[in-house]
Amino acid sequence: MAEKFDAIVVGAGPSGNAAAYTLARGGLKVLQIERGEYPGSKNVQGAILYADALERIIPDFREDAPLERHVIEQRMWMLDDSSYIGTHYRSADFDQPPYNRYTIIRAEFDKWFARKVRQAGALLITETTVRDLLLDGERVIGVQTDREGGAIYADVVVLADGVNSLLARKAGFRPELNPADVALAVKEIHFLPTETIEARFNLSGDAGVVIEMFGKITQGMMGTGFLYTNKESLTIGVGCMLSDFKSQKMTPSQLLENMKSHPSIAPLIAGGEMKEYAAHLIPEGGYNAVPKIAGEGWVIVGDSGMFVNAVHREGSNLAMTSGRLAAETLLELAQARLPYTARNLARYRRKLDESFVMKDLKKYRRLPSVFHRNPQFFTAYPELLSQAAQTLLRVDGEDKKSKERAIRRSFVARRSRFGLLGDAFKMWRAFE
């Protein structure tokens, strides 16, 4: 006899774990299916964990979650070919518990989260891939896995299967991915002794630094690079729009190799032992790319629903929040003995709209297209800025006033006065 569950959650990333945990705590009979060898085994993230979203699910997560370092310093670097100009913001306030942001290693973090889910009462099956959704007309009634005896039934299926969401696409719930809406990111983990990391980044204890980078490292493509400190390793990566990779005929690994040899970056990672090279997509289409996220017997959460705030590099927190909100919706319906119809599940979208998830996505909805149509943000400006810095800082007998004039001239020469004004306006509008 095939098993029947109240809910099946496909995927054990942050969104699936948040949903399964909330559902199991709410007393439902939950099955979670993950294709990886263990949760997190194949998952890719920078990774910064934003405490707030997790705190709302597991308030005391700090007690045993595998957190690497809490972030006390954020650097923003704009790079040209040989230098960077940027800001470093470090505050002692960030070093006061409870900390707000942490670096994590997803393989460890997802495993921990999944353990919590199991403890909450959900059944987790790993190394098992969901191949299809089982449908009765329009209604989703279960999943088909790749194992013998693999049809399993449930009242509702939560699709938390990540950015590719083959299942949602197969079932026609979601359109194909548009290469202009997804970034392709690659990252590596470089292992270094703790003391080396602490010395290089001026750290002690569990404090950490993150560096966000943009400029010539993406070679004219729209994207950013990043470098995060973990306890015994550094995570370094870069991501650009998939459409750009295609048109530039550039491979992500080439891009990362170039970036690693940048004179500002190479010394930071020198001597490390590289492990774990991984590539992954990030949905960056923003507000306008969010598909239909609920229907007859199904809901979509996390990356599968395109909930990523590319501007602030937030994804896991949106994933966890959407997972939690979807689960809360399901629990409310279960309590009210209402069926999981598309109509009833529309509450989930309303909850999301009221949350920071949709509010933030809405706020930046113009940004993807602004950047897309204006590559100068990733090419000309970084170069100009760092040249300007160099002109100003080099002591060579020229007076500062003439230097400033030269800088102004160089900006106008690359980009007309109107262009400069227009760019400023576009940015303001997009961020507003």
């Binding site: 059944l123 099956i125 306890k231």
Partner: protein, 281 residues
């Protein structure tokens, strides 16, 4: 038939890193797996169960996380899993490990008589191939190491026939149950678990035994205390001073390089030249 399979959770040695200065092991991010050799033992046990009925118990001694390894074994079809875990076991060498495992097997045997114990050929972290023989001696079981095939089991007569890899050949051995088999690698292929087994494994409660539950009263026999061997030093393999003499030739044509090499090689090692020339063509 009741079969106990001893398995160990090990760090995936292909991914081990060494701290360049302190020469200590950096474990972070190194995945833990079921010792690959043990899966051949488990599969062989499951095949015997398929043929003759009975049950398979998987047993490990290790830290609490080793439960993951046991659960994995359950998915393949093991019926029960026991984790022997206690701080007092820390630092055990093979003598102390076999003591603890033997005690646990005696305990299992008290509930349901054990006919056969399997271990892997060796572990990829300890690499000693000693724990299996150790358990057999402590339990006074017949020991069959490096078994490549279980040819026949006659449960009524309590007899078993196996092929064992020996130096330069294969021994066909017959013995009486109960006995302990250490299974050679590459002898079978692990099955793909069914959905039912996945469910069963996910729901099955792994039994956790501490020192007392495992029936061990004498703490001087386990852990660091019960281990005759101690590691006095860990060090990196010495870098050789001798660097290769590079063979170079004008234009680097392969033929010229080859001739230059042969010339050097044979002038400096005339005996080697003689041996090569003398061998029958």
């Amino acid at each position: 038939m009741h079969i106990v399979v001893c398995i160990k959770q090990v760090p995936d040695s292909a991914q081990i890193r060494v701290h360049p200065v302190t020469n200590t092991i950096m474990r972070q991010g190194v995945p833990a797996i079921v010792n690959p050799y043990d899966l051949f033992a488990l599969e062989e046990a499951l095949r015997l169960k398929d043929r003759h009925g009975g049950r398979v118990t998987v047993l490990t001694m290790g830290p609490p996380q080793a439960e993951d390894a046991l659960r994995k074994c359950l998915t393949f079809g093991a019926d029960e899993a026991i984790l022997v875990t206690d701080r007092a076991f820390a630092g055990a060498d093979t003598l102390a490990t076999s003591y603890a495992l033997a005690a646990a097997i005696r305990n299992i045997d008290r509930d349901a008589a054990v006919d056969l114990v399997f271990t892997g050929k060796q572990t990829i972290d300890g690499d000693t191939a000693q724990v299996g023989p150790g358990i057999a001696k402590r339990l006074d079981l017949q020991l069959l190491t490096y078994v490549s095939r279980v040819e026949q089991v006659d449960i009524a007569q309590r007899r078993l026939r196996v092929q064992r890899r020996a130096e330069g050949g294969v021994q066909v051995l017959e013995t009486r149950l109960p006995c302990l088999i250490t299974m050679l690698e590459g002898t079978n292929e692990m099955r793909f678990a069914s959905m039912d087994n996945m469910f069963r494994a996910a729901r099955c409660a792994v039994r956790i035994w501490d020192r007392e539950a495992a029936g061990i009263s004498d703490v001087s026999k386990i852990g660091l205390k019960g281990s005759p061997t101690v590691v006095s030093k860990v060090f990196a393999p010495q870098a050789r001073a001798r660097r290769a003499e590079l063979i170079e030739a004008e234009g680097d044509a392969p033929r010229d390089l080859a001739l230059t090499l042969i010339n050097k090689l044979f002038t400096r090692n005339p005996k080697l030249r003689d041996a090569i020339v003398a061998q029958p063509s």
